[in-house]
């Protein structure tokens, strides 16, 4: 008698650096806020219904966004190759330090005066690499698939900025840093690429690109930094 095993493919075998922590991240993250329309019972307390609960006010959420495609692009800005790549991507390469350009599903992060990181969804690296290489057309420069170098943590919620402030010296206040800004910096002494992808009433959303071998440490640190926001504030 033979037992049917699920087909073994590269997709079923591969593991992200933080795949084993998905349940831990969910347990330590504030549940998503319920939509106001879906809570008729709150109508009995009209004065409180308008205020977010303590959990929502202090919410922070963490998850891994594994296997993002990441391509390191190096070339001289302003040259013909840069123009061809801009046309192929549908956006000029950002030349302002630490800024991000969006092109459909792709994000193009400034890493240096001649260096960018092109981030796309899982599985898109070969097609994007081919697109960029064709546009480079043998001019001085390089396109390298570095997807396996880093995994991505996504931190969001109203206290996300406070969580980062415990280990990051950058000014992340909205007056200084917002969607469209990125930075390479240290978070609790770990090299990260910080990319703010969104800001809504429910707080900012940051993506932290971290090398695989530092991902477990950074996750532990973030979970510890988030812990106080799972509880009501201490009153003196």
């Amino acid at each position: 008698m033979t037992r049917r095993e699920p087909a073994v493919t590269a997709d079923t075998l591969r593991r992200s650096p933080l795949g084993h922590l998905a349940a831990v991240f969910a347990e330590h993250s504030t549940p998503a806020e319920p939509s106001p329309a879906g809570e008729p019972s709150r109508a009995a307390e009209p004065s409180r219904a308008a205020e977010p609960s303590i959990a929502a006010e202090r919410c922070a959420r963490l998850r891994e966004v594994p296997f993002l495609a990441q391509l390191d692009l190096q070339l001289e800005p302003g040259g013909p190759a840069a123009q061809r790549i801009a046309a192929a991507l549908g956006t000029p390469l950002p030349t302002a330090p630490n800024s991000v350009a969006e092109a459909g599903e792709l994000r193009v992060l400034w890493l240096g005066p001649q260096e960018w990181l092109v981030i796309g969804p899982d599985g898109s690296a070969p097609a994007t690499a081919a697109l960029l290489s064709a546009a480079l057309r043998g001019e001085p420069g390089s396109v390298v698939d570095v997807s396996a170098n880093r995994t991505t943590l996504e931190l969001s919620g109203r206290t996300a900025r406070e969580v980062l402030a415990k280990g990051c010296a950058l000014d992340l206040h909205p007056r200084a840093f917002g969607p469209g800004d990125c930075a390479q910096t240290l978070l609790s002494t770990v090299h990260v690429i910080l990319d703010q992808i969104d800001r809504t009433d429910a707080g900012p959303t940051y993506r932290l690109l971290v090398r695989g071998s530092f991902a477990q440490y950074l996750s532990d640190w973030l979970l510890d930094a988030m812990e106080e926001y799972r509880h009501p504030p201490l009153t003196p």
Binding site: P97, G112, P113, A183, Q184, T185, H191
Partner: protein
Amino acid sequence: MLLIACPWCGEREELEFHYGGQAHVAHPAEPEGLSDSQWGEYLFVRDNPKGPFAERWSHSAGCRRWFNVVRHTVTHEILAVYPAGQPKPVILP
């Protein structure tokens, strides 16, 4: 902790940078013509001023570019930041 202004990223804390020693030490044009002591001098002997000192720094935890800084070795005041390859600015005493 020094606050160093990377020419690209702006002010970042010193932990993000790597020190690269004295700036403007030119590689000898004809190293094969140097005596051992002249070669040793090029490799190992550096100025050690009490006052403004031009030195190389790399923004190693950021954009990873090298640039030059004039730092006062007594007060640590940063008197100038300029790209690698540019001449040393004239710093008044």
